[in-house]
Each structure stands twice: as structure tokens, then as C-alpha cells.
């Protein structure tokens, strides 16, 4: 891991903390975009170029745009009302630390025993080109690939079903233009 990767990683962490910490949802969303881009950078540094590109396009592009759209649509301000209790924050942080502390050592321990030669051998061949991944997708994982279409279709149908309303005559809410978003 070189310095650049390290910096990107730090960016990812900091932006992640920002997502959690910033009170304005909009800022959180932007932080998330940064985070996703940083992760894309990490993919690239791991030779998963196709995924890096996909990440930028799908996540940082499509998904985040959708999120931002909804945020704008609902015209949300920062979280109102009282703050979350200190106890809750502390508990969450402690629990988070506990999880990291109990999960990381076994992972590290497991791979520290692995002989470096095999690993480096493997490293050579794991190039995430479009071609390689495409081959995998259409041979070994073709069934899953087809099934994934099902997921997308559910996404479409579900969104349609939820967005469509029978009683359209409801008065428009002050919050925004909801009824006919379909």
C-alpha cells in the first residue's frame, strides 16, 4: 500500500465519519459521495478497474443522485429537535469499537499465517478487467446474473407500486409535490 492509497483510505474514513456526523442530510450526502469516490479509488488501487468505474457511475452517479433528488424533493432541513443522548452516542461508539476489536484480530491472524508466495502469485492474476469480469459473469455466474435482473425488476415494480396512489384527490402537502411523482 502506497502513500496515495493510504491517503485515499484516510479520505474514505474521514468522509465516512462526516456522513455520520454532519447534521445536515445534504452535507451527509455529499460526504457519502466523497466516500464512494474514495472507495472507487481504493478499488482502482486493488486493480479492480471495472469496479472502480462502475462504482463511480452506479453509486456516486446514479444512486447518490437519486438520494440527493429525494432530499431536495422533501426539502429537508437538518435533523430537528433535541440531540441524540450522550449515552446513546457513547454506547454506539463503544459497541462499534468492540465490534472492530473483536472482529479484526481473527481476520488479521488468519492471513498473517498465509505464505506470502501464494498470495503474491495470486495477486498477479487478479486483474479486474472488463473482459475478465465479463467472462466470469457470463459463464460461472450467469444464473445469478439473470436472477439479479429480478432484483432490479422488483426495484422498479416496488417503487411504482408505492409511489402510485389511489386517492389522488388528497390535498398537496406543504412539504412538497408528492402525489404525482410517478
Amino acid at each position: 500500500m502506497n502513500v496515495i492509497s493510504f491517503l485515499i483510505g484516510m479520505t474514505a474514513v474521514v468522509s465516512g465519519i462526516c456522513v455520520v456526523g454532519l447534521r445536515n442530510p445534504l452535507f451527509s450526502a455529499f460526504a457519502l459521495v466523497v466516500n464512494l469516490l474514495a472507495v472507487a479509488g481504493l478499488y482502482a488501487s486493488l486493480d479492480a478497474h471495472f469496479l472502480a468505474v462502475s462504482q463511480v457511475v452506479v453509486y456516486a452517479g446514479a444512486i447518490m443522485v437519486l438520494v440527493l433528488f429525494v432530499l431536495m424533493l422533501l426539502n429537508l432541513k437538518s435533523e430537528s429537535g433535541r440531540r441524540l443522548g450522550f449515552v446513546r452516542c457513547a454506547t454506539a461508539l463503544v459497541v462499534g469499537c468492540m465490534v472492530v476489536m473483536s472482529a479484526l484480530p481473527p481476520i488479521l491472524a488468519h492471513f498473517s499465517g498465509m505464505s506470502s508466495s501464494t498470495v503474491s502469485d495470486n495477486m498477479m492474476s487478479s486483474v479486474g478487467t472488463v473482459q475478465a469480469i465479463g467472462r466470469e459473469l457470463y459463464t460461472k455466474y450467469v444464473a445469478q446474473f439473470e436472477l439479479a435482473s429480478l432484483v432490479l425488476l422488483i426495484g422498479i415494480v416496488g417503487a411504482v407500486m408505492l409511489a402510485k396512489r389511489k386517492n389522488v384527490e388528497l390535498a398537496p402537502r406543504p412539504g412538497g409535490l408528492v402525489g404525482g411523482s410517478k
Binding site: 472482529a103 484480530p105 481473527p106 481476520i107 491472524a109 488468519h110 492471513f111 455466474y141 450467469v142 444464473a143 445469478q144 436472477l147 439479479a148 429480478l150 432484483v151 425488476l153 422488483i154 426495484g155 415494480v157 416496488g158 411504482v160 407500486m161 408505492l162 402510485k164 396512489r165 389511489k166 386517492n167
Partner: protein, 472 residues
Amino acid sequence: MNAIASFAPILVLSVGSLGYLLGGRAIENVRASALFAVSLIAIAVWCTLGLSDTAAAAGFGIVVNSGTRILAVVTCIAGLVSIVATSGSLEGEKVAMLSEYYYLMLTSLCGALIMVFAADFLTLFIGVEVASLALYCLCAARVDERRSSEASMKYFLLGCFSSGFLLYGIALWYGATGSLALSAGGTVAVNAPIVALSFLMILVGVAFKIGLAPFHFWVPDVYQGAPTSVTTFMSCVVKVAAVATLVRVLASSFGFTELWTVGPLWILSVLAMTVGNLAALQQRSIKRMLAYSSVAQAGYMMIGLVVAGSAAEAIGATLYYVIVYCAMTIGAFAVLSAIGPDADSIDDLKGLGKRSPFLAVCMTLFFLALAGLPPSLAGLMGKVYLFSSALSAEFFGLAIIAALNSALACAYYFRVPVAILSTRDDIGEPLRVPVQATLAIGLCAVAVVVFGALPENLLVIVRDAAQSLVVR
């Protein structure tokens, strides 16, 4: 060719359900939609029964053996019966769009089948997501109902959170073995801590779907908030599929004997039955009560998996109990939905004996079965099977806690038959139960009685299934 053929049930459901999207007005009424769904599921069942076993390695992410076949059939039939049973009350529930509703229902069922058949973790995860995503939407099917969308949101957020853990577990499994296949355990020492970590993460995801405490919090809220028809469907289909997943994951990847499989399962099982029963004691809403009860019942089911390392029979016990549970729960929810879209409080059941003796008798049978009391022996026999396998594996503490819990459970199960038997002033007119509901409820009632009174055939099937599931 064989491998593709083994996709038949999934294909039938996934492709067939497109009919709802394409069929337009032809399928806009409830009866036609339901009939179409039923026929699709029936075909799927038929296909499932016709599937031949696949070699584990050869399939496209799918494995067919007598175990998965039975589980798939159970899932399908559970879905079928719940769809039939509740189809009559859909209009009353003001479900948003019928064709989409049925499409999502069938797709969810399809996802459950994928979960059951999955041969690798990727397929498994896709199955989980297909089943869940469809259900997230279905929960919100009463779009104008505040509780419905609230339930949906909770389910969605919590579900995604837990599937994050599931996914991380899968990632760790991949990290440990270098493969996504379920049964790639040969390349790694199974008792490595990373595998334990992986299992725990996966367990969290699956336990959430099963509704084991302390991952059960969505269960009461969602069961109560979702339309009764959806609750009926998900209470059985999701649970069967998730338990099947857990069985498969344990049997093919992690084994039943490690401390880190037995221990967490023991804790979750005990917590689920205790928390479920204790919380159910306080409920006035039948749907919430049934929700907590299903948490407790899930706890019982886990007994079989906890002890499977020492008693090979035990998985059969879990399967038997899952089947019985489906019959009991579908029946109970179906009766509830037959009473009315907003029937929820226990007081709504008062006078049921007068309004519809048939429903009253069936409901009583279901609740007696849930409580493990005769004459609907299925519940009792399920417990016989589970507890005796626990005892034969020398898990005495577990068996005793479970037994005490099942006694405690009588306290709240008892309230429903009591309400049915008692009367109030304004019991309302006699209920007109739709034919399809009558059929489905009757079927459940028969199942509850017959599976208990003459369990031998089912036992043979279940034992066979258990054996084929355990063979790695």
C-alpha cells in the same frame, strides 16, 4: 441441461409472474389474480417435485436434493395457502395495486425458493434480497395507511442493516476460503476464528430474517403494521426460507459441532423463546401476540439446530416443526384476515363462536396447537420431536427452558380461545367467509390435526430430507 432444468420452479415463478405486469386488465380482479398465482405456484410445486438431484458442484448456483426439494415444496405450499387464504380479504384491506401486489408476492416466493436452493453465498444473498425487497414493498401495500408504511420503513432499514452483516459474513467466508460456494470448507480449517466470525455475521443476517431475539424487533411492528395478507405470507414463507438457509449454511459450510455454532444458536434460541413468550404475555393485539409468538416458535425451531451436532435426528425435528408452524400460523393469520381487515384486538374475536363456528373451531385448534395442547396435536408432537432430540443430545438445560417456556406460553395463547368462547353485546352479524379462505383455513386445520395425530409419514419424509441436507 439438467442444471438449467433445475431452475424450473424459479423460472416458473419469476417469468410467470411477469404475466401480472403484462396482463393488464385481464388480471385486474382479485379472483383472477389469485387464481393465476395459485396456478403458477402449483406448477412450481409440480416442477419442484419433478426435479432430479444435482451434483453440488455442477449446478449454476443451485443445488437440488431431497432436502431442498421438500423445503421448496413447503415454502411454495405455505405461500400458496397464505395467498389463497387471504385473497378474499384483499379488497377490504385496500391494497394499492393488485397486479403489482401479486407480482411482488410471487417474486418474494421466488426469492425464498432461491434461498432454499442456493448452492453458493452469492445466490443465497440474491435470494434473500429478492425475497426481502419484495416484502419491503408489500408491507407498504396499504399506501394510505400510516402503520403500513411505518412498518415497511422499519422493516426496510433494519433488514438492510442486517443484510449488511450477512454480506460481511459472506465476504469473510470468501476471504477465508477464496470461494463463494457453500460447501468449499475443504480449503480452510473450519475452526479458524475468521470462519467463526463469518458465521456469526451470517447468523446475524439470517437470525434477523427468522426473527430470533435480539434481532426480532421488527417482527411485532411489521406483523402488526403490514396488511394481514402480507403478514400471513411473510410469517411463514420468510421463516421457512430463512430456517432452510440456516440449516443449509450450517450443514454445508460451518458444521453443527463447533462451539461458535452451538453457542450462539443456543443463546439465540433461548433468548427468542423467552423474550417472545414474555413479551407476548402483555399483548392486546393479536397480530403482535402472534408476532411475538412466532419469535418464540422460532426459538423452538432452533433447538433442532443447536443439538444437531450430537443428535442427527434433530434437523428433522426442526423441519417438522417448521412445517407444523406454517400450518398453525397461516391458519391463525388467515382466520384473522377472514374476520376483517382491521381485526387486531383480542376483543375483536369475542363472539366469534356465534358469528362463525367454523372459524372459531379452527382458530381454537390453531391456538391449541401453538400452545402444544391436544386435540390439535401437531404442536405437541413437534415439541416431542424437538425436546426429545435435545434430551438425546443431552442439552438438558435447553430442553427444560424450552419446556418451561411452552408452559408459560399457554398463558397468552389461552386468551384467544377464551375470547372466542366469550361473548359481548355487539358481536355483529354472522361472518361470511370467502370460499377460498374456508378452504385454506380448513386445510390448515386438517394439517394441524393430522400432522399431529398421524405424523409417521411426515416424519419419514422429514428424516429423509434432513439426511440429504446434512450430507456435505
